[in-house]
């Protein structure tokens, strides 16, 4: 870690920009962070972080079509980065993020993809049933020949976003804009720059636009009661949209009460199931190993969709053949991963050293240099594989692997595709949210559910006229 640490002097601390109601905040900076990852951010003006309920939010009455146009234009601007805002954010991000620069660069280069028109309408159409209910009152027929009207009314949202992948910030801005509501984004210390770069780009596209004025993005230390106990109140916000680890969610729960709801993107983990068809030929095995490696290395295994346990239908020898190939493929750079990665942490090395001594029950491929390591074990290992480590576990039948899936399992990649249909009900029953073709774990298509619910539908306030 020490090699990636920052200079701890004041001159070495990284300045964080705040956006408040669409404008860059020029308040004086205060120091944050810890030695090795120090940064400064503007002091908070709490009064400006809320939109009073006595008046509608700036974008409440803006037609969806106009918002989509704005988002698409923002996407084009992000792609071109005419203002150099993404370049600036990237330069600062590289200095504090645990992700390697090349991965961040590639992730930034595709941020615009979240702002494409077909994807935006897919969310509106699939999650809400169309734009009409956002723009006005949708008539609904009730039993007894009655009619009523319903509207997806703009909400007041405070978002605690995750920083393990820059796309989270983009996704949060898109969803927040489509709701037409007001949005306060709390920046995470592992991504202090992406959200503000996007919001500033949007502000450059349409200065003073109601949607632009509907967003703030600021940093405070997660769990800081002096901020959270003040802001997390139903007088100011309807919902807390929280991403992340258990401590974030548990911290947020303290404030949940009547009128203040939690929308939680819980901490998750992911696995893969590789059917015996992988061993049909050297080509199929190579294809499965490449797909398994792609799923395991998404954001160098920092993302929740990144697979950590891979269950192989076959003998120990079959699993070993797969594991050896998988290990080779883990060390290959992809769009969202690098060939190298973080060195394996000392505690994990201890555990893996012991397993090495327990051959033939356990076998290990690869080293501790961050290029990827695979353990083949008769049962899943007790520790959490992290930093491009995969545990390969042989099973007699893929259905046996289902018992290793639970409510914390988000994505299950399956090889070959034809096996998904037989497994998906059992996996869903166990608590899983996504069953994908192996290799397709990364990136979530717009318009589908996320963590078991339709976010846009959940973010709105549903109001009736009966």
């Amino acid at each position: 870690m020490s090699g990636t640490m920052l200079d701890t002097t004041a001159a070495g601390s990284v300045p964080v920009v705040h956006v408040v109601r669409g404008e860059v905040d020029h308040n004086s900076h205060t120091a944050h962070g810890r030695p090795g990852a120090a940064f400064t951010a503007p002091a908070l003006d709490l009064d400006h972080l809320v939109w009073p309920r006595t008046e509608p939010g700036p974008a409440f009455q803006v037609p969806v079509a106009e918002i989509v146009d704005l988002l698409v234009e923002t996407g084009e601007a992000l792609k071109a980065d005419r203002e150099g805002l993404l370049a600036e954010a990237l330069e600062r991000m590289v200095r504090v993020s645990p992700l390697p620069a090349e991965v961040l660069e590639r992730a930034y280069a595709v941020l615009w993809r979240s702002f494409q028109r077909p994807g935006l309408y897919a969310q509106i159409d699939h999650e809400l049933g169309g734009a009409d209910v956002l723009d006005g009152w949708r008539e609904v027929r009730l039993p007894g020949n009655r009619t009523a009207a319903t509207r997806a009314f703009p909400p007041r949202l405070v978002h605690i976003i995750a920083g393990n992948a820059p796309g989270v910030a983009a996704m949060s801005v898109v969803r927040g804009a489509l709701t037409k509501g007001v949005n306060l984004l709390k920046l995470p210390s592992n991504d202090l720059f992406t959200a503000t770069a996007i919001l500033r780009t949007m502000a450059a596209v349409a200065p003073g636009h109601p949607v632009v004025r509907s967003f703030s993005a600021v940093y405070w230390r997660g769990g800081d009661e002096t901020v959270e106990s003040v802001l997390f109140r139903p007088q100011f916000f309807d919902k807390l949209v929280a991403w992340g680890g258990e401590s974030t969610i548990r911290g947020a729960l303290r404030y949940v009460g009547p009128g203040f709801e939690l929308v939680s993107f819980d901490p998750k983990t992911s696995i893969s199931l590789i059917g015996r068809e992988a061993f049909t030929s050297p080509e199929t095995l190579a294809r499965a190993a490449e797909a398994g490696a792609a799923d395991a290395t998404f954001f160098n295994q920092q993302a929740c969709v990144a697979s950590r346990f891979q269950f192989v239908e076959g003998s120990w020898e079959d699993a070993d053949r797969y594991a050896a190939l998988l290990c080779e493929r883990l060390g290959v750079a992809r769009e969202f991963s690098s060939a190298g990665g973080p060195q394996v942490a000392t505690e994990l090395r201890e555990e893996i050293d012991v397993l090495k001594s327990m051959a033939p029950e356990y076998r290990v491929w690869g080293g501790y240099d961050g290029r990827g390591l695979v353990i083949r074990s008769p049962e899943p290992v007790d520790f959490h594989p992290d930093g491009k480590i995969v545990d390969v576990v042989p099973v007699g039948e893929l259905s046996e692997a289902v018992r290793h899936a639970g409510v914390a399992t988000q994505t299950v990649g399956v090889y070959p595709d034809s096996r998904k249909a037989d497994l998906r009900d059992a996996l869903a029953c166990a608590g899983v949210q996504r069953v994908v073709s192996l290799g397709g774990a990364g990136g979530m298509p717009p318009g589908l559910s996320h963590d078991g619910f339709y976010p846009l539908q959940r973010l709105m306030r549903w109001v009736n006229d009966e």
Binding site: E347, E351, V354, S357, E361
Partner: protein, 446 residues
């Protein structure tokens, strides 16, 4: 001619094991480290693997030991499924990779649970001492018969050093612990009672033995919950079993408090981990037993870290006040070390000669030992006395070690009293036996 390791072990019965000249000791220690490495490399596969990977072929200086040190996680690195699935042979194979146990020497035929497994290893001439942390997964630290007899020698000769206590059974004993169990503190308390308490006059917190499966019950239950096989009724029973144990132990403490109050004018032996000692002191004070009122020949044994801040910051001061005027064992140590580092007249902890202190940088990679002066860093050591396992270990403790002669006049090195966990300073976590026994005694294992 005795080997260097034998010479160092023999010092325990000398006039002052901690008064040896520094330079002589260091040379003997280096030779003993070579002997220990040669012996354990043959018998402990994890050490062999480590030596091969780090390309350490021989010990030419103390810095060569650094890459060979284990951490406490090594001793609990077995897959939990070996226990939940009853794969006792595989658990034994694991144990054989981190200790000098030969699997074929242990008969595991018909073993039903982890306690029986532990008993079988013990029956084969080894003692797997367990320690546990909040996760519930326990460490198994192997000792062989020679290690146990050496431990007994230590308590007989060194208890209350620098003013050792004559081994006479003259006290009324109270052990704030269960009757038995594979924990070093329980053995230590019992042996102290054998040596220093009147036969038949020792009271225990409970006559029930401490069961490893009970210590691990939270880890095992958590595992079953994760697998989706634990039922709500099981979880509920687990909770209520903890509550009833807590009640039973409350009654036991009350009984001991009454007895101590009635016999406070006699010499007593009071042994217990810090958490239990603290509970006892509060109860005795409430019962009207004043600070400093116990018989001066009373022997008090305590220990264990303040894990999870279960005790107030000033608990040491409260112990000192309540036990003012009695004989107290004050030392710094851990189950992973044979004996511990007792405090001298100046309050500094003297490292016994069979333990080579190795002060490392915080990541545990670079040796910082000096010829003279105070060095701050992570405490690590090689205990060359150990036969049952490799004695090289990295702790989670941030210490200051003074390599100059101590103010008490003896040669160094000494660990200075300001000892903190890196975990408490914002680093990693450390597992201690204090939390273990506390988990058992309070019955609160989640």
């Amino acid at each position: 001619m005795a080997t260097a390791r034998e010479q160092l072990r023999a010092l325990v019965a000398s006039d002052d094991p901690f008064g040896q000249p520094g330079q002589d000791t260091r040379e003997l220690q280096l030779e003993a480290a070579r002997e220990a490495f040669a012996a354990h490399r043959e018998r402990v596969p994890l050490l062999r693997t480590r030596a091969e990977e780090t390309d350490v072929r021989e010990i030419t200086g103390f810095e060569d030991l650094v890459p060979l040190l284990f951490s406490h996680t090594s001793y609990k690195s077995y897959p939990l499924s070996l226990i939940t699935g009853g794969r006792w042979d595989r658990l034994l194979r694991w144990y054989a990779t981190v200790s000098a146990v030969e699997p074929e020497d242990v008969d595991i035929e018909g073993v039903n649970d982890i306690d029986e497994w532990t008993e079988r290893v013990t029956a084969a001439g080894h003692r797997p001492y367990i320690t546990s942390g909040t996760s519930g997964k326990v460490s198994f630290l192997n000792c062989d018969a020679g290690d146990l007899s050496f431990l007994h020698d230590i308590l007989e000769h060194v208890t209350c050093w620098p003013d050792p206590l004559p081994p006479k059974p003259t006290r009324r004993g109270y052990l704030l612990a269960p009757a038995s169990g594979p924990m070093r503190s329980i053995d230590g308390f019992r042996w102290h009672a054998d040596v220093f308490a009147r036969p038949g006059e020792t009271q225990l917190l409970t006559e029930e033995p401490l069961r490893v499966s009970e210590l691990m019950s939270s880890a095992l239950l958590r595992r079953r919950m994760a697998e989706g096989t634990a039922t709500p009724q099981e979880i509920s029973s687990f909770e209520s079993a903890s509550e009833s144990r807590e009640e039973e132990l409350g009654t036991a403490v009350a009984r001991i408090v009454d007895d101590i109050a009635a016999h406070r004018d006699e010499p007593l032996l009071i042994a217990g981990m810090n958490n239990q000692q603290f509970t006892l002191i509060q109860a005795l004070r409430a019962r009207g037993v004043a600070d400093g009122s116990l018989h001066p020949d009373t022997l008090v044994l305590s220990g264990g870290g303040n894990k999870g801040r279960a005790l107030p910051d000033d608990y040491q001061a409260q112990f000192a006040a309540f036990y003012d005027g009695v004989r107290r064992v004050r030392s710094y140590g851990m189950t992973e070390m044979q004996g511990s580092c007792p405090a001298c007249e100046k309050g500094n902890y003297h490292v016994p000669p069979w333990v080579i202190p190795l002060v490392l940088d915080q990541p545990g990679e670079t040796l910082l030992n000096a010829e003279h002066g105070v060095v701050e860093g992570r405490f690590a050591f090689l205990d060359v006395s150990l036969e049952g396992r490799w004695g090289g270990l990295i702790s989670g403790d941030r210490v200051f070690v003074d390599f100059s002669p101590c103010d008490c006049g003896r040669a160094g090195p000494v660990v200075l009293p300001d000892i903190r966990r890196y975990g408490d300073l914002g680093g990693d976590d450390k597992v201690t036996c204090a939390a273990t026994l506390d988990s058992y005694v309070r019955g609160m294992i989640h």
